[in-house]
């Protein structure tokens, strides 16, 4: 099973100065920054997925700057991402349209032709047909037929198939180094199985299953089972945007060839609790919560309080400074766990002060939070990981603060997840 990482300019500055909280001297954006596969000793994925929606194009701006967009189209994905085939042999360079970015439009803003053009410019090895997301999903036994679903759903289904038919021909002009992938969208297991059969009939032998992000794992299992029943075994399957990464066995069971996800990276700073990943000796993933010490003058919540006049910024800065010093001193052995926690929680209290909440509820919340942070600090997980993030940043990677720390922690998670996946493959 191949793990493809969906990139959206997820780089870090290797020269970032944690004590001064600033980029390395003279750092130039992107040129001096590093992608996970550049920063770590080994690439933590088997391929990269780049969406048109992220890169942007003539009519739709993406996350790339205009100059970056032009360079990407000129130099291709591998050069832009510094992910050459020679250094990462056999790796996939996969493209899609990023259906989520245009989910609210009546039709995808891209055609089969200009999508093939994007893949040609980018030098992609794999590329998905331009699909359109369907959000409805029927419960088992309640499958609606195509005449029962709303017109919008039917349109999206038909547009996706029509685009796939056109894209198969447009994509075949890109030569033997390129594998076109047909995207499956549907509102039920039956409609998705029908779509899969149609795509296989068009000639596709690699299909990508879309729209599974909101699905629960048992729904995904049903979809996969329906696919396997509908398709000849030569057809490979890719799962787009797979978020339930604890459930790898479902993918294994139904012979999924590849999947893409950003979860390991994103959960480092989007999840309330599971920020820093570990693999237990028994082979499971386990998690620690990162210690939140936001920048007093840049944190929106604190800025808001300063604007209202309910918080003195000089005081907040002192608390912030003490919290950072407390955690660092604890990590270095110069302070006890309780001393470190006291400093962290003093800042936490200022940060979360809300006059609407009763003192007893506030005390309960603080006690709970203290326990969570105590778990993280007591186990000192950063000392048990050998990846470059943990070697170089140590406890800084466990501090929830600034993109350079948060993304580093995400890159550590990618490393842990990739290791987990490769061990998982071996029975």
């Amino acid at each position: 099973m191949r793990f493809i990482f969906a990139d959206s300019l997820d780089t870090i500055d290797p020269g970032y100065d944690f004590l001064a909280d600033r980029n390395g001297a003279g750092r130039t954006i992107h040129r001096d920054d590093q992608y996970p596969h550049e920063f770590l000793d080994d690439a933590p994925y088997d391929g990269i997925l780049v969406s048109r929606g992220i890169v942007g194009d003539a009519r739709h701006p993406g996350k790339y700057s205009e100059a970056q967009l032009m360079r990407f189209r000129r130099e291709g994905a591998r050069r832009f991402l510094r992910y050459p085939e020679t250094r990462f042999p056999g790796s996939m360079m996969m493209g899609d349209c990023g259906a989520f970015t245009y989910r609210n439009l009546p039709a995808p803003p891209y055609s089969a032709e200009d999508t093939a053009e994007f893949y040609a410019d980018g030098g992609f090895t794999h590329g998905c047909s331009p699909d359109h997301l369907i959000f409805d999903f029927d419960e088992p036994g309640a499958d609606r037929s195509i005449t029962d679903v709303p017109e919008d759903v039917r349109n999206r289904y038909e547009i996706t198939l029509q685009n796939a038919a056109e894209f198969y021909h447009a994509g075949s002009r890109l030569g033997g180094g390129f594998t076109p992938m047909g995207v499956i969208q549907g509102w039920s297991t039956a409609s998705m199985a029908d779509a899969a059969r149609s795509l296989a009939d068009m000639g596709y032998d690699y299909l990508a299953i879309g729209g599974t992000v909101p699905l629960k794992i048992d729904q995904i299992r049903r979809v996969l089972a329906a696919m396997r029943n509908a398709l000849p075994s030569r057809v490979r399957l890719h799962l787009l945007g797979f978020g339930k990464i604890e459930e790898l066995s479902a993918l294994e069971e139904f012979g999924v060839t590849s999947f893409d996800t950003t979860s390991p990276l994103l959960r480092a700073f989007k999840d309330a609790k599971k920020n820093y990943w570990m693999r237990t000796p028994s082979g499971d993933l386990s998690y620690y919560t990162a210690i939140r010490i936001p920048q007093a003058t840049e944190n929106n919540k604190l800025k808001q309080k300063a604007l209202e006049g309910s918080l003195n910024q000089e005081d907040a800065r002192l608390l912030e400074d003490a919290a950072l010093k407390g955690v660092r001193a604890y990590a270095a052995g110069g302070a006890t766990l309780e001393q470190g926690l006291d400093a962290v929680m003093d800042y936490w209290a200022a940060l979360n002060w809300d006059e609407e909440v009763s003192p007893s509820r506030r005390a309960d919340a603080a006690a709970k939070q203290r326990k969570v942070y105590a778990d993280t600090l007591t186990d000192r997980p950063w000392e048990h990981c050998g990846c470059r993030v943990c070697r170089e940043a140590g406890v800084e990677a466990l501090i929830f603060r600034t993109s350079n720390r948060n993304k580093r922690r995400g890159i550590h998670n990618l490393h842990v997840f990739h290791t987990h996946l490769s061990e998982f493959r071996q029975p």
Binding site: I29, R31, G56, R59, Q68, M70, R74, Q295, T297, G309
Partner: protein
């Protein structure tokens, strides 16, 4: 009102004065007047202050509303008087101007600056707020003038140094003999120019970050030599190939001179350099000629495939710049591919 001045260190100032930001008290009454700290600004000041050459010539302004007074002069006619401040209930003064500088100073390790303090005593809070507004209501310099001054100044914060390099090249292109753009760039000091300096700076910054100039970025000498040479050669080619849309035209009557065309053609330069290796005017012209008959710089219509646009329907907005760039590059790419097949 009494005004006076003295010298103090940051630590001393924090004992006699505080920053009171605008906010509302329990009854909803407005208190204080300062805005919140601006982290990036403070960091820039601190970076500057850490340099050995740093000076802080402008004073921090502090106001007192009671709990401070000037004693009568020791002898009649003496210039200096003693300021007496009562700090038993905390610092009584307000920082009226220089809060970001003051905060940067307070966080500085290793160097203890002496700074000028201008103080005044006022009778009412209203007077204090009036002074705050008057002192802080200055107009910043026009951006274009700041950009034009940048190349004269070394050691700038990184935020400005990209712009500074671009301004440096723009200046060279505007005044160097033999430059394709000599005298044509409209600057604060060259109002007769037709191409806006900020537009050309955008082309240069794009190329510095992601294009042909990337090779020379960070080296001013190389940029001034090879960088300016490359851009000048390119625009020589543009002027020749599109002479009818260039000569004696203004941005009003040709989109070639206009921000939209200039920026899009900047990307064409990076493309031709990156893909065909063009460096001289002849090599660039070879690429640009592929566009002949497919452009509508000063009349007619652009045929973008999915839509048609009148020549003056293009505006200097990101969407139009991208649209035009994609179109120009597509034409060149298709022609180059056809040439390759024929060869």
């Amino acid at each position: 009102m009494t005004v006076f001045t003295f010298v103090a260190k940051a630590g001393d100032i924090s004992r006699i004065a505080r920053i009171e930001r605008a906010g509302r008290d329990g009854e909803g009454l407005l208190t204080g007047f300062q805005r919140p700290q601006i982290a990036a600004h403070i960091r820039e000041i601190r970076d500057y202050l850490e340099k050995p050459s740093a000076i802080l010539p402008n004073p921090i302004v502090v106001a007192f509303l009671g709990r401070a007074h000037l004693e009568p002069p020791a002898r009649p006619g003496a210039a200096s008087r003693r300021l007496v401040i009562d700090v038993t209930d905390g610092p009584p003064g307000w920082i009226v101007d220089g809060q970001q500088r003051f905060t940067a100073l307070a966080g500085l390790h290793g160097r203890d600056f002496e700074v000028l303090v201008s103080g005044f005593l006022c009778d009412t809070e209203e007077e204090l707020q009036r002074q705050f507004i008057l002192i802080n209501n200055t107009r910043p310099l026009p951006k274009a003038l700041v950009y034009e001054l940048l190349p004269q100044v070394g050691d700038l914060p990184p935020r400005m140094s990209n712009r500074s390099q671009a301004a440096l090249l723009t200046e060279a292109l505007n005044y160097r003999t033999g430059s394709a753009l000599k005298g044509l760039i409209k600057q604060q000091t060259n109002p007769k120019g037709v191409i806006r300096d900020t537009v050309l700076q955008r082309v240069i910054m794009n190329s510095l970050s992601d294009g042909a100039l990337r090779l020379y970025a960070g080296d001013d000498a190389l940029l001034l030599d090879k960088g300016v040479g490359l851009i000048s050669e390119y625009w020589h080619a543009v002027r020749t190939v599109f002479a009818a849309d260039w000569d004696n035209k203004t941005p009003k009557d040709s989109r070639l001179i206009h921000g939209t065309g200039i920026v899009a053609l900047g990307y064409v330069m990076d493309y031709l350099n990156g893909v065909t290796g063009a460096e001289t005017r002849d090599e660039f012209a070879k690429g640009l000629r592929l566009l002949r008959g497919k452009t509508a710089w000063s009349d007619g219509e652009w045929d973008f495939g999915s839509e048609r646009r009148r020549w003056n329907g293009l505006q200097n907005v990101p969407a139009d710049v991208r649209q035009l760039t994609f179109y120009l590059l597509q034409v060149i790419k298709t022609e180059l591919a056809a040439q390759a097949r024929a060869a």
